[in-house]
């Protein structure tokens, strides 16, 4: 039975751009420096200073918006969002209000395990703004003491606002994964949630099915989620909580103000947050200290041309060119561009995309993980690996022997040929194999009988014995021959 409600989810994502310096001054954006060491008169809003836009930040944002299929405004301005907060040194944040540089885009998502239908999630807008600082409150023993670190102040953030198009926590998580992947491919952000490079707020409510039609519940905004897994869990929890509240109170959208709740990862619950001390009237108005930004057709064309291949297109190309399944292309593309490059080289050199994909997913990823390596530093380069895979493909060695060779290649860095010679791995002659089969079947009358009576699986027990006699025996070939010769015995 389906749930008695639909879940409606929209996301607001703040992405820290990979710039060397802040949005309106030259200060570094490095993470983890001692408090207030990355500040200057401009980013701490000293009297008389003026902001100057960081062109690189704008370029990176433009790249992202174009990749999100957004409409790009040819004329865009900056606005001040006025509010009082101790970590906001100017008393306003420079942002974009009514004329963001981009709007009305989309991002396609799908689940490789087909848990939901592929869908297009709308992007309402993407705009640039500066970050605020960080307040650290110490309210021990009734004595309140607050410290402020302004290192973050002025860090460029791209705010991406989605349409409320997601209908489950899994869809929301998939959207975030796909967005993160896109940002990674574009090289615009490192998307590190722990360091605050990617922050997600989720708006969620329910459309409860009632005999009188669907009834919307009040929208809740969830904050403080510091992993995609947490987003998923928070949304799942919140949907259940809202349904329960609806059953108890029957409160609909519009009857109570929008609530902000924080996610408590330890307790696995969302909790209501104290109302912010500032009013929600931000008194936006155009920032008079910055000139408007114009984007020309040629600039836009340049951005489009320089985008590179994005994840969705890349998946399709890998599937078409190398005959791999969507699930496999998804795994490979999710690993990022360097691994995809590795795969493409391996598939081309070995002439077998599926074999290359299987080996990368099973063996390479495991070795990378066990040895804490990246694909760039992985000792087995595609040419050497392709040599090994070609041998597997020709039947020169079976998978389990090939895996032995591969692991040796990873630890020693030696070529496959050398390892194969050293280990005496050679192909066993066909007549030798037939003789061995006859011998083994003769020694194992029970298995012979089973095979003759159609229980062919019984032959599997002979592989181990055969390997003892000759480790180079190819197990699948051995089984084939056993089945061939058994009826004549």
């Amino acid at each position: 039975m389906s749930a008695p409600y639909d879940i409606v989810i929209g996301l607001e994502i703040h992405v820290q751009l990979l710039t060397q310096s802040k949005l309106f001054c030259g200060c570094s954006t490095r993470f983890g420096s001692p408090p207030n060491t990355q500040t200057c008169p401009v980013c701490i809003g000293m009297p008389g200073v003026m902001p100057v836009m960081n062109r690189r930040a704008f370029e990176l944002s433009l790249r992202t918006a174009v990749a999100l299929n957004c409409q790009i405004a040819t004329y865009t301005k900056w606005d001040r969002k006025n509010y009082y907060y101790p970590d906001l040194p100017k008393g306003y944040q420079i942002s974009q209000y009514d004329l963001p540089f981009s709007h009305d885009g989309w991002l396609d998502i799908s689940d490789p395990k087909d848990k939901f239908q592929p869908k297009r999630v709308g992007i309402i807008r993407a705009h640039l703004e500066e970050d605020a600082g960080k307040s650290m409150h110490d309210e021990a023993a009734g004595q309140s003491d607050s410290r402020i670190d302004l290192n973050r102040t002025g860090t460029p953030l791209l705010e991406i606002v989605s349409q409320p198009d997601m209908r489950s926590a899994l869809e929301a998580k998939t959207f975030l994964n796909e967005l993160k992947l896109l940002l990674t491919y574009l090289g615009v952000s490192d998307c590190n949630m722990q360091e605050g490079s990617l922050r997600v707020d989720a708006n969620i409510n329910l459309h409860v099915h009632t005999p009188d039609g669907k009834v919307p519940t009040p929208i809740v905004e969830i904050k403080n989620m510091n992993s995609f897994r947490a987003v998923e869990r928070a949304l799942e929890y919140e949907a259940g909580r809202q349904y329960q509240v609806w059953q108890e109170t029957g409160r609909r959208l519009g009857e109570v103000p929008k609530q902000t709740r924080g996610w408590d990862d330890q307790a696995n619950v969302t909790r209501g947050q104290r109302h912010k001390e500032e009013s929600s009237d931000y008194r936006y108005f155009p920032e008079p200290d910055l000139v408007p930004v114009t984007v020309s057709e040629s600039q836009l064309a340049e951005v489009r041309a320089g985008l590179g291949e994005l994840p969705a297109a890349l998946r399709t190309r890998l599937e078409a060119t190398y005959g791999i399944k969507p699930y496999d292309s998804d795994v490979l593309v999710n690993q990022g561009p360097p691994l995809v490059d590795y795969f493409v080289e391996l598939a081309t050199l070995s002439g077998d995309g599926r074999l290359a994909s299987n080996w990368i997913q099973q063996d390479v990823l495991r070795e990378l993980n066990d040895r804490q390596l990246t694909i760039e530093t992985f000792p087995v380069r595609p040419a050497a690996f392709a040599d090994l895979l070609s041998r597997v493909k020709r039947g020169d060695l079976d998978t389990s022997r090939a895996r032995e060779v591969f692991i040796d290649m990873v630890s020693s860095g030696r070529p496959a040929e050398e390892i194969i010679r050293e280990r005496g791995i050679t192909q066993v002659d066909e007549s030798e194999l037939i003789a061995l089969c006859r011998e083994l079947l003769a020694k194992n009358p029970k298995i012979l009988t089973d095979i003759k009576e159609g229980r062919t699986k019984a032959a599997g027990a002979l592989i181990g014995q055969a390997k003892k006699v000759n480790p180079n025996v190819n197990p699948s070939r051995l089984l084939e021959i056993c089945l061939e010769v058994a009826p004549s015995l």
Binding site: P41, I44, G45, M46, P47, G48, V49, M50, P51, V52, M53, R80, N82, Y84, P86, P89, K90, G91, Y92, S144, I148, E277, D281, R283, Y284, F285, P288, D289, L290, V291
Partner: protein
């Protein structure tokens, strides 16, 4: 002729000829300050030792025939709203009583590069809000022609110190007329350049889209020289325009042939003092005698200028002044006392069960720090601006004001299609008495009537002395299309070459001496 009566150009000549040193010149001005500023109160701070040290160094370099800047050895006064590294910059406000800027404003850098000698900081209306310099948190400057009268504002100190021969050059700022109006009331020459002509980096913002820095001096020639030094693009101010700076000091002496002067119909209407009007009309006749043609033009939306200004300027000010919150900059209230009061209030409210209405300590700190640090006029404008920007009123006030602003700019474009310069009064009446309009903010706001449109449209304007009424100076205002400062200065010099209003000095021995 005394050194303090000389123009900047004359002083440069004297130094070039070896007839005077910067130390002698600087000393003469410092002595004049010492003698009379106790009565005029145009300076908030004077740096005698620092100025003389700079003057000595420049004299030394001149002796060694080292290259020198365009203003080498000339004393200059700076309005106390412009940041200089390590120096106090109070903006005439208690809230910035102890603020020392950690950096130089762009124009300070340019003036240093030009080897100017900084003598001190001049008084102003708090955060440049006002037209009389009565809103300074520190002192009220007197008009050197009559110390019982205001010098105009907000650059009252900047104009008065030039009129009183306490500096040959001074720097003011003009948001709605704050250079031209005091220049007119004090009988000196003051130029508000086109918006974007001079970098605002380091100018403590009042209304960012209107503020502009400009020169005040005895003559148009001196203003030309000073503008040449301070104008130009600054990468740190993206609203400063990247256009070449003409050699104003070279071209200023060339008269303009076939000049068409536009007289704005609406400027000669009800409310204009008849003696001011006749002085201005006489000035126009001087131009006619020099070959200029007078054309009738109209700025129909000018009548909304003051209203538009008093929506836009306070709106921007409310935002610009938010940073003085007691957390980061500026005065912070006495926290111990504040917490005691808050505890007492809490106890009282708890009895009534209304404790939810009480400020948090943070909100109380903001409130109280700002209440104590800002003066009445600043508070009035912050409230006006906050109201005009708030949700629900934005469209009716701020957005409407922006639309009118565009219409005002269009009026100028249309007027300048018919004339080269607009000529008219700077103010409707001469300097009023100190305290006369203190209780009437609206009548005070009307002193900007003729000047404010230039700021809204972003065009340049100059005020030059053109006569007297009852012993008080009257100013003539010329306005030009954007970036036509060269035209403004040449026209102003034409007038000064033909008249001597700019050479009249107040008799300080009589006015200030009597006060001292």
């Amino acid at each position: 002729m005394s050194l303090v009566d000389r123009t900047a150009i004359e002083l440069l000549d004297l130094m070039a000829q070896g007839a005077a040193t910067s130390v002698e010149i600087t000393t003469a001005y410092l002595d004049q300050i010492e003698r009379y500023d106790g009565a005029v109160k145009s300076y908030l701070r004077v740096d005698r030792a620092g100025a003389l040290e700079q003057a000595e160094r420049i004299d030394e370099r001149r002796k060694l025939r080292q290259p020198l800047g365009k203003l080498a050895g000339l004393p200059i006064a700076i309005k106390d709203v412009i940041c200089a590294q390590g120096e106090l910059t109070t903006c005439g406000s208690k809230i910035l009583k102890d603020f020392r800027a950690p950096y130089d404003a762009a124009i300070i850098r340019r003036l240093r590069h030009a080897d100017a000698v900084f003598v001190g900081r001049t008084n102003m209306d708090e955060f440049a809000m006002g037209g009389s310099t009565e809103n300074s948190a520190y002192q009220t400057t007197g008009n050197p022609w009559d110390l019982s009268r205001i010098p105009g504002g907000s650059s009252g100190g900047a104009a008065a110190c030039v009129a009183a021969r306490m500096a040959p050059l001074s720097i003011g700022t003009d948001t709605g007329g704050s250079i031209r109006q005091p220049a007119g009331l004090c009988g000196v020459t003051g130029l508000k350049p086109t918006y974007g002509r001079v970098s605002r980096f380091g100018l403590v913002a009042f209304a960012s889209s209107l503020d502009q820095i400009g020169p005040l001096a005895k003559t148009a020639e001196d203003c030309a020289l000073l503008l040449e030094v301070i104008a130009g693009h600054d990468p740190a101010d993206s609203t400063s325009v990247d256009r070449p700076v003409p050699a104003y000091s070279q071209s200023v002496r060339q008269p303009l042939a076939g000049l068409r002067l536009g007289l704005v119909r609406e400027h000669f209407a009800e409310g204009l003092d008849s003696e001011v009007e006749s002085a201005v009309r006489e000035a126009i006749r001087v131009y006619e005698s020099l070959g200029a043609k007078v054309v009738d033009v109209s700025l129909p939306h000018g009548k909304y200028g003051v209203a538009t200004y008093y929506v836009i300027a306070p709106s921007e000010a409310s935002s610009n002044l938010a940073r003085y919150d007691g957390v980061h900059y500026g005065h912070r209230t006495d926290l111990a006392r504040m917490n005691q009061e808050l505890a007492a209030e809490r106890a009282a409210l708890e009895k009534q069960g209304a404790v939810a209405d009480l400020d948090t300590p943070l909100v109380r700190m903001y409130r109280q720090s700002r209440a104590e640090g800002f003066g009445a006029e600043v508070k009035r404008r912050i409230m006006l601006g906050t109201y005009a920007l708030s949700a629900g009123y934005y469209d009716a006030y701020y957005l409407k004001a922006l639309k009118v602003r565009r219409l005002i700019r269009r009026d100028y474009d249309e007027a300048f299609a018919q004339c080269d310069l607009i000529a008219g009064p700077v103010t409707a009446a001469p300097a009023f008495k100190i305290g006369e309009k203190s209780d009437d903010p609206l009548s005070m706001y009307l002193v900007d009537l003729y000047t404010v449109s230039a700021n809204l449209a972003g065009v340049g304007g100059i005020s030059i002395p053109c006569g007297f009424t009852a012993g008080l100076p009257v100013g003539l205002q010329l306005q030009a299309p954007p970036f036509e400062e060269e035209r403004l200065l040449r026209a102003a010099h034409m007038f000064q070459a033909a008249t001597n209003w700019h050479q009249r000095f107040p008799d300080l021995a009589q006015t200030a001496g009597a006060h001292a």
